[in-house]
């Protein structure tokens, strides 16, 4: 585990509390709440997990357990444009690893890291359910299909 210590703004706390309420503060919705929370903050620092724990009445150890179990959740801040490369079976056999290498080379960061200017972060995931488009790259909510190493620069250019 590693995280940075942050202080949440009052309106951020309010927004998070609102998210919990929208799920009726039901402990069963923990994963959904964390999903939304990560949408707001870009990551799930300890402070956010503590608020979720309090609001849903789930021990903070459990919240942390869920956060560390699913690779989707992260306790590290992501870049403005989080890049996720699918390494599921279909994407992998169609060359996703070469695409990943190209991203690493271009951005000069390793998987799980963020560029010093905070623009991009790089992550891998397992199957987004769009195997027909393999290899798939996601940047934020956008999906790029049939990506080749040659196409990497083009994707990055869209966000510069």
């Amino acid at each position: 585990m590693s995280s940075i210590q942050i202080e949440l703004h009052e309106n951020q706390v309010k927004e998070l509390v609102e998210v919990c309420r929208s799920f009726n503060n039901d402990p069963i919705e923990l994963i959904n709440v964390l999903h939304k929370a990560q949408g707001i903050f870009g990551y799930l620092p300890a402070e956010v997990q503590e608020i979720v724990s309090r609001e849903l009445n789930v021990p903070v150890a459990k919240v942390y357990g869920v956060v560390t179990f699913y690779s989707f959740f992260t306790m590290l801040p992501k870049g403005q444009n989080p890049i996720s490369i699918c390494l599921g079976t279909a994407c992998y056999v169609r060359g996703a690893e070469k695409v990943l290498d190209e991203f690493k080379k271009k951005l000069k960061i390793a998987v799980g890291e963020t560029t010093p200017d905070g623009k991009f972060s790089l992550n891998c995931l397992r199957c987004v359910g769009a195997c027909g488009l393999a290899p798939v790259v996601m940047v934020g909510d956008r999906t790029f299909g049939r990506v080749s190493p040659d196409g990497v620069q083009q994707i990055l250019d869209e966000y510069v």
């Binding site: 590693s2 995280s3 997990q49 021990p59 903070v60 150890a61 919240v63 942390y64 560390t68």
Partner: protein, 594 residues
């Protein structure tokens, strides 16, 4: 209920519908090995994650082996528990578990009592064929509990006790795959978590992953130091369990042998925490009657019900989760701390020893007591009222190390004055006992009449939450009892919601009360062991010539010579405490982890 017929290893079995194969096999004398499975039947505690796969069996017609703990019997099922395929699978699973487990059994605190070690022996493992990476986690040392997660086999028993039974939620499975481990939030140390140090995780851990902080060396050194006067107090639940460590039947009372052993170890005075339990009743009982009388006289602001405060894990629990209710529990210190406070003032004076040269030790069925005696409020100029607290298990180890043949020891009596106690004090060791002791005294003080019947059967038992109404000569007193912090939480929530009409509530953190404490000999999942200890406690009470705390002549003398009367200024100073809000403990996040 529907009956199901099946055969297990060619033996026909009839069971109720819903019975697991594991339980059905037990009925016909087949003991399938388990590791993660835990069932404390009389206490309704079960851990059944089906995770370790040691208990797999072959079910005819099924392709895969089935975990017998989590597979329900079906009509006509044909089960085999000892085929070559099953035995190979079981050994393979065990070898894989051992391949990521340190092999330092010879020097492990759990050696000889380790379920993993025993199961590996039973399975005839002589070699581990799998070599690979081993998990390495940092050791976590709290004042009470040591977590050595390198030895964890992820059975999740501790997690179940902490979350389901105690509702403390300090532990959870975190991370995944090879990195998976049971840990507090953010993998911080236990001391920074919501842990109450009840030690129930230690009580159920099948390996050496969770153990107590060992103070036996401190005691050995203190006993060897000629400048020190070393005194010891022993909690009531210890005498009902210590014998188990020496192979005696659960429920064997060893009070006399215990005293002899402590004298042979070299303690200058062998006293009894029961003395302080009688004192607790004087203070707590008076507090109850004071609050109650005030309430009956029309003061509706009086905080009721009064909650007992002898259990240190319970105190930690309400400080963490119910700090807004801190005026409800009795302010009386626990017997351990009352003993310490009196020993280092009244008794130290009597024998003319400076408190700094007096070492007060305690033998407790409890791990939270280790935490409790380190609390700042129980120190005078940095010198603690109780210097070291040993668990029942540690005392057994100390006796063995000192070459004392426990089984052949004659009986001895506790020393005076702080070794004298009543039957009321003895029953502090079981759920329902503290409140029964309080009722025995409060009844006679309130009504001015002697009790016709000393035994309050209606307050006894093993149900998680119990209640009874005691007639105080026309005044009905409603009593609540909870053991297990999850049960305590239910009562506290009902107080908060205003739906509770109790006048007094007794709470114990551990299943069965102190007899099932985190420092007791391991029960290995047999709740009958805890039941037997409870019977022993009531037997000891029945055997005592004096059975009401206020009739203890040494307690009367203590008030005459030193304290004045219950709730006097001196009593408040020495025997009462105040509580802290612990729920605001802020998360401190480590900078980074490699």
């Amino acid at each position: 209920m529907d009956k199901i017929n099946l055969t297990i290893d060619n033996k026909p079995v009839q069971v109720d519908s819903g019975t697991s194969i594991l339980k059905a096999a037990e009925q016909v004398g087949i003991k399938i090995p388990t590791l993660c499975y835990l069932h404390l039947e009389d206490l309704n505690i079960e851990n059944k994650p089906g995770g370790c796969r040691i208990c797999v069996v072959e079910v005819q017609g099924r392709r895969n082996l089935a975990p017998s703990c989590a597979t329900v019997c079906m009509e006509g099922m044909v089960v085999r528990t000892n085929t070559v395929r099953v035995m190979n699978a079981r050994r393979t699973v065990m070898e894989l578990i051992l391949s990521d487990h340190p092999s330092d059994c010879l020097v492990c605190a759990k050696s000889g009592k380790c379920d993993l070690q025993k199961t590996a022996q039973d399975l005839g493992i002589r070699e581990v064929h799998y070599k690979g990476e081993q998990s390495h986690y940092k050791e976590d040392r709290s004042p009470s509990i040591i977590r050595d997660m390198d030895k964890c086999i992820l059975c999740r028993r501790c997690e179940m006790m902490c979350n389901e039974f105690q509702t403390v939620g300090a532990l959870s499975g975190v991370n995944r795959g090879f990195d998976a481990v049971v840990a507090p939030a953010f993998e911080q140390d236990l001391v920074k978590s919501t842990c109450t140090f009840c030690g129930q995780c230690v009580a159920v851990c099948p390996t050496g992953a969770l153990t107590e902080v060992d103070h036996t060396d401190n005691i050995i050194r203190a006993l060897a130091n000629p400048k020190k006067t070393v005194i010891v107090q022993t909690a009531p639940a210890v005498r009902a369990a210590l014998g188990e460590e020496f192979g005696m039947e659960p429920g064997t009372l060893v009070t006399g042998k215990l005293v002899t052993a402590l004298k042979q170890l070299g303690f200058d005075y062998v006293f009894d925490t029961d003395f302080a339990a009688d004192l607790t009743i004087m203070e707590e009982g008076t507090e109850l009657l004071t609050r109650l009388t005030s309430y009956l006289n029309g003061n509706k602001e009086v905080p009721l019900p009064i909650l007992t405060s002898c259990c240190p894990a319970w105190v930690n629990f309400f400080e963490e989760y119910y700090p807004e209710m801190e005026d409800i529990p009795s302010t009386a210190r626990s017997p351990q701390q009352m003993f310490g406070a009196i020993a280092k003032t009244y008794f130290a004076n009597k024998i003319g020893v400076d408190r700094k040269e007096l070492v007060v030790t305690s033998i407790m069925p409890c791990l939270a007591k280790k935490f409790e005696c380190q609390r700042e409020e129980f120190k005078t100029d940095g010198n603690p009222d109780v210097d070291f607290s040993l668990s029942t298990r540690e005392l057994a180890a100390l006796i063995k190390q000192s070459n004392i043949d426990f089984l052949s020891l004659p009986d001895s009596d506790f020393d005076a004055p702080m070794g004298e106690s009543t039957g009321a004090a003895v029953i502090f060791g079981t759920t329902g006992g503290v409140i029964e002791a309080a009722v025995r005294t409060a009844y006679e003080v309130y009504t001015g009449k002697p009790l016709q019947k000393i035994d309050f059967e209606e307050l006894r038992g093993m149900e998680g939450i119990r209640h009874a109404t005691i007639d105080f000569n026309g005044l009905p007193i409603n009593i609540g009892i909870a053991h297990g912090l999850g049960n305590a939480r239910k009562l506290l929530d009902s107080i908060k919601a205003g739906t509770c009409n109790f006048h007094a509530i007794e709470i114990m953190a551990c299943p069965g009360g102190c007899i099932g404490g985190g420092g007791q000999p391991l029960h290995h999942g047999q709740s009958s062991v805890i039941m037997a200890r409870q019977r022993a406690i009531y037997q000891e009470d029945a055997n005592k010539p004096i059975r009401k705390s206020h009739e203890n002549p040494y307690i009367t003398k203590l008030y005459e010579e030193f304290l004045g009367k219950p709730l006097s200024e001196k009593s408040h100073h020495l025997l009462h405490t105040h509580y802290f809000n612990r729920s605001k403990v802020k998360v401190v996040i480590p900078k980074s982890k490699s």
